[in-house]
C-alpha cells in the first residue's frame, strides 16, 4: 500500500524479520518476504475494508486475530500466520462463505482460476457441516450487455463496488439490502453503462461477475496466452490475448504501471470479435469487372507492375500497423516507388511533432493541474486515461475539462503558482493545445507539458516513421520533396492508391468525396485483414494479417514502444511485411529481411531513439537531437 512516511519499521512475521516503510500493511510486509496470506476483499489499488476476514493473523499482544489487509505494521510487531488458531479461523471463514456459495463450479466460468476454489483447497475445510437449503438468489442476471451477474456466487467482498467508487468514480454498483440478503446491483436494476465493466470481472474473486462474450467459451487450462497490446486505441494498454483452438476467447489486462495501471476499458477489452478470422481468404485480382482468385506470387507481380505503370501513386497505411510494416511501407513508397504521397490519417490534421509526447501517461499523477482540452472527446479517444485522471484527482490533482477550443477558459482555470501542468488533447485539437501550452508557459511558474492522444494503437509510430506527406522518418523535414496528404489525393491526379488495413477498427473509411474518386480510380490495391466495403471498388485484394496475428512493435501515444506477439496463427496468409518486401524486390530493390526481428534491427539502426524497444521504454526524440 501507499507509503505514508519514509521511516522504516522492523517487524517479525512467522519468525522472519522484515523491514518495511512505516504505513505498510501487514499483508504487504508478508508479501515482501514471500509469506502468503489468503485474501478475497483486499486489492492493492483500493483502500482496505477488511470485510471478508480471510486474512486474519495472530499479532502478539493483541487479544483477537487481526485482519492483515487493514492493520499497519508497527515497530517490534510479532505476526504469526500459521498458528493453529489462524488455521481454525481460516477454515471457519471459508466454511461460512461456502454455506451460501452454490457449488456450481462445473458451470461457472471462473472455475479453474477462482481464488475461492484455490483457497478452499489450500486453507479450507474438507467438508461442510451445513445440511440445510442454501440461500438462493437470481442467477445469470444481465447487469448490462457486457456483464452477467450471478448473485448466488457473490461473497460480498465489495471489490466491484469499491472499483466503481474508488477507481472509476462512477458509483454504478452498490450493495443493496442488509445482512444475509445483501446483493450487489445497479440503481433501479438499470443496465450498467460504465466503460470499465470488464475490470469487475477480473477483480471478482468468484464467478459472480462474468463476461457475456466469454460466457462458457473456455476453461482457463484450454487457453493459449499471449502477451500483447490492446488494438483499440493509442493508449497501448498491455493485454493478455487468451485464445482457444486458434480463436480469441478474451482480452485480459496485463498490468503495466506506466501505461494502464492494470486496467482496461470495455472498448478495448471487448473489441476482439473484430479480430476473429472468418474463413480462409485468397488474393484476388479484378479482371473484366470480376474478382478472380490468384496466388500470392501472381498478385505481388501484378501489383508491382501496376504500381510502376501508374506513375502517380499514393499509400495509406493504417495507424494499427506495426512499426516494422510501416517502416517497410514507407521505404517501399519513398525509396522504390519514389512517391511522397503517404498518409495514415483520416482527415487533415496539424503536423505531428516530437514535442507532442512531453507528458508521459504516468506523469499525470505528478502534475498538480491537468487541462483536458475537449473534455469527454479525449476520454473517449483513450478511455483508460480517465482512470489515471480520477486516481490523481483523489490524490489532489486539479482537472479542468474544457471545450476543444476553449483556450481562454483553460488559461483562467490554471493558477499561476502551479508547479506542473499537463495538457491532454486529441490530434484534431492539437493547434489549440499548442497555443494553450505557449500561453500557460508564460503564466505559470512550473513546467507545462502536453500529451496528444493519437488515433490507433500505432498512430504515434506512424508519425515517428514518417507515414506523413511532409515528414520523413524521425520527423525530418522533406523540403521540396513533400507529397500530398490524404484529403488532397482526389484532386492531385493520383492514379493508384495502396491501402494497408490490418485492423477493422482503424480502416480506410472513405468520405463522400473520396468514394466518388475511388470509383473512378484506375488502380486501388487493398491489402487488408477483413472484407470491407472497399472490396467492391478494389482492383487488387491482398489478404493480410490482423493486429492479433503478427509479431512486431507498436508505439503508443506517449511514445512507448511495446511488442505485440502473434496470438492467432494464420499461416496461410503471407506476412504483410513480406508482401511489401516482395513487391519492392519485384521492382528492383534487394531487401532480404528474413524475420520481423531483422526489420526491427534495421529500424533501430535507421532511427536510434527506437532502441527503446528493447526496454519497452519511450522513444525520446528530443534527447537524441
Amino acid at each position: 500500500m501507499a507509503t505514508v512516511q519514509t521511516d522504516q519499521v522492523t517487524l517479525t512475521i512467522d519468525g522472519q524479520s522484515v523491514t518495511v516503510p512505516k504505513g505498510t500493511l501487514i499483508l504487504d510486509a508478508a508479501k515482501a518476504i514471500n509469506i502468503d496470506i489468503p485474501i478475497f476483499c483486499s486489492h492493492p489499488k483500493m483502500a482496505p475494508v477488511a470485510v471478508c476476514r480471510m486474512c486474519l493473523v495472530e499479532v502478539e499482544k493483541m487479544p483477537k486475530l487481526q485482519p492483515a489487509c487493514a492493520v499497519y505494521v508497527a515497530e517490534g510487531m510479532v505476526v504469526k500466520t500459521t498458528t493453529e488458531q489462524v488455521g481454525k479461523y481460516q477454515k471457519g471463514v471459508l466454511e461460512f462463505l461456502l454455506i451460501n456459495h452454490p457449488l456450481d463450479c462445473p458451470i461457472c466460468d471462473k472455475g479453474g482460476e477462482c481464488p475461492l476454489q484455490d483457497q478452499t483447497f489450500q486453507y479450507g475445510p474438507g467438508a461442510s457441516r451445513f445440511e440445510f437449503q442454501k440461500a438462493h438468489f437470481d442467477k445469470g442476471v444481465p447487469l448490462s450487455d457486457k456483464i452477467v451477474l450471478d448473485r448466488e456466487r457473490c461473497i460480498l467482498c465489495w471489490r466491484c463496488t469499491r472499483f466503481s467508487e474508488e477507481i472509476s468514480g462512477e458509483r454504478e454498483l452498490a450493495l443493496i439490502q442488509r445482512g444475509v440478503q445483501t446483493i450487489i446491483g445497479t440503481f433501479n436494476d438499470e443496465p450498467a453503462q460504465s466503460n470499465y465493466q470488464g475490470n469487475w470481472t477480473e477483480i471478482c474473486p468468484v464467478g459472480a461477475l462474468t463476461s457475456r462474450q466469454y460466457r462458457f467459451v473456455s476453461r482457463p487450462w484450454d487457453l493459449d496466452r499471449t502477451a500483447s497490446v490492446c488494438p483499440a486505441c493509442s493508449m497501448g494498454c498491455n493485454i493478455q490475448l487468451d485464445a482457444r483452438n486458434n480463436r480469441i476467447g478474451r482480452f485480459q489486462s496485463r498490468e503495466n504501471l506506466a501505461v494502464d495501471d492494470g486496467w482496461l476499458c470495455d472498448a478495448g477489452r471487448y473489441s476482439f470479435p473484430q479480430f476473429q478470422r472468418t474463413g480462409q481468404d485468397r488474393p484476388q485480382i479484378r479482371r473484366d469487372g470480376k474478382l478472380e482468385r490468384v496466388t500470392y506470387d501472381e498478385v505481388i507481380a501484378f501489383t508491382a507492375d501496376a504500381l510502376k505503370a501508374s506513375g502517380q501513386v499514393a499509400g495509406w497505411a493504417s495507424p494499427a500497423a506495426s512499426n516494422e510494416e510501416l517502416f517497410l511501407f514507407q521505404r517501399l513508397f519513398r525509396e522504390v516507388l519514389a512517391s511522397p504521397n503517404l498518409d495514415h490519417r483520416s482527415a487533415a490534421l496539424e503536423d505531428a511533432e516530437p514535442d507532442d509526447v512531453t507528458l508521459p501517461i504516468a506523469d499525470i499523477e505528478r502534475c498538480d493541474h491537468v487541462v483536458v482540452l475537449g473534455g469527454q472527446d479525449v476520454i473517449d479517444a483513450a478511455p483508460v486515461l480517465h482512470l489515471r485522471l480520477f486516481k490523481s484527482q483523489r490524490k489532489g490533482l486539479q482537472v479542468s475539462k474544457v471545450g476543444a477550443t476553449d483556450v481562454k477558459k483553460a488559461l483562467d482555470a490554471v493558477p499561476a503558482e502551479a508547479q506542473a501542468v499537463g495538457i491532454l488533447a486529441t490530434e484534431a485539437n492539437k493547434k489549440a493545445a499548442v497555443e494553450l501550452q505557449e500561453k500557460l508557459q508564460k503564466k505559470v511558474k512550473g513546467s507545462v507539458r502536453r500529451l496528444i492522444v493519437t488515433a490507433g494503437p500505432n498512430g504515434r509510430g506512424a508519425k515517428d516513421l514518417g507515414i506523413l506527406p511532409q515528414r520523413g522518418p524521425g520527423y525530418v523535414s522533406l523540403n521540396g520533396t513533400s507529397g500530398k496528404g490524404r484529403v488532397e489525393w482526389p484532386g492531385a491526379g493520383v492514379k493508384a492508391l495502396y491501402v494497408h488495413e490490418p485492423s477493422p477498427l482503424h480502416g480506410f473509411v472513405p468520405t463522400d468525396a473520396e468514394s466518388m474518386w475511388l470509383s473512378g480510380l484506375p488502380l486501388l490495391i487493398f491489402h487488408r485483414f477483413k472484407a470491407s466495403p472497399l472490396d467492391e471498388v478494389a482492383h487488387v485484394i491482398i489478404p493480410g494479417h490482423a493486429f492479433t496475428e503478427k509479431d512486431g512493435t507498436v508505439t503508443n501515444m506517449e511514445g512507448r514502444v511495446q511488442r505485440i506477439l502473434k496470438g492467432i496463427d494464420a499461416a496461410w496468409v503471407r506476412e504483410d511485411w513480406r508482401v511489401f518486401q516482395e513487391i519492392a524486390n519485384h521492382l528492383g530493390a534487394s531487401w532480404d529481411y528474413e524475420s520481423v526481428e531483422a526489420i526491427t534491427g534495421d529500424l533501430v539502426r535507421a532511427l536510434p531513439p527506437y532502441r527503446a524497444v528493447n526496454e519497452g521504454a519511450r522513444v525520446l526524440w528530443s534527447e537524441s537531437r
Binding site: 462445473p106 458451470i107 472455475g111 440461500a135 437470481d138 462458457f216 476453461r219
Partner: protein
C-alpha cells in the same frame, strides 16, 4: 507287430470317438459371435455413455472436468449456453460439442470419476473395430443415451423451466 496294430486299430478309433461323444453331451461354451454376445460384467469399462435425466435433458453441463482428468487427452468439450428456445440440459450450460477419440482412449474410467454430475459412465460396449480412423471419433450423438419411447412423451417441452428451478428469492 504290424498285424497286431491292424487288429487293434478300430479299438483306438473307438476310444478317440468316445472322447468326442463324451464332449457332445457337455454344455457348449462357444458363443456365436457376433449374433450372440457374452454378457459383460456390470463394471465393464467399454465405450462411454452420456446419460440423460428422467425427463430427457442431458446430464452433461460441458464443464470439461473429464477432458482435464483424461490422462491421454482424448476428450474435447465445448460448452454453450442454454436458452429458453433451445434447452439441452437443466441449468445454464450444456455441452455443444462432446467428442472422444476412441483410438486414443485407454478406457481407464478417469472421466467417469471426474464427472460431477454422473453424466458420463463407461458402458458395456466393447466391439469397436472399424475400417477407418475417422470412424473412431465418437461424437455426442453416438454416446448419448437414446430417448426411449416413454421418455419422449414426457420429454420437456422447449422453454420449460429447468429441472432445478431456482426461486427468485429464498
Amino acid at each position: 507287430m504290424a498285424l497286431r496294430e491292424i487288429f487293434l486299430g478300430p479299438l483306438y478309433i473307438a476310444r478317440a470317438l468316445a472322447t468326442t461323444f463324451k464332449h457332445n453331451t457337455k454344455p457348449i461354451v462357444t458363443i456365436e459371435y457376433p449374433e450372440r454376445q457374452k454378457p459383460v460384467p456390470p463394471r465393464e469399462r467399454g465405450r462411454h455413455i452420456l446419460h440423460r435425466y428422467a425427463d430427457g435433458l442431458e446430464k452433461c453441463v460441458g464443464c470439461e472436468l473429464c477432458a482435464i482428468a483424461c490422462p491421454v487427452g482424448c476428450i474435447v468439450v465445448e460448452a454453450a449456453e442454454n436458452t429458453p428456445e433451445h434447452r439441452v440440459s437443466p441449468g445454464e450450460r450444456y455441452a455443444k460439442r462432446y467428442e472422444i477419440n476412441l483410438l486414443r482412449c485407454i478406457y481407464c474410467g478417469m472421466c467417469e470419476e471426474a464427472c460431477p454430475y454422473d453424466a458420463i459412465t463407461m458402458g458395456p460396449r466393447y466391439d469397436l473395430a472399424d475400417d477407418h480412423p475417422d470412424k473412431f471419433i465418437a461424437v455426442k450423438e453416438d454416446m448419448l443415451e437414446p430417448l426411449s419411447a416413454s421418455l419422449q412423451d414426457t420429454a420437456r417441452p422447449s422453454g420449460a423451466p429447468s429441472a432445478q428451478a431456482v426461486p427468485r428469492k429464498w
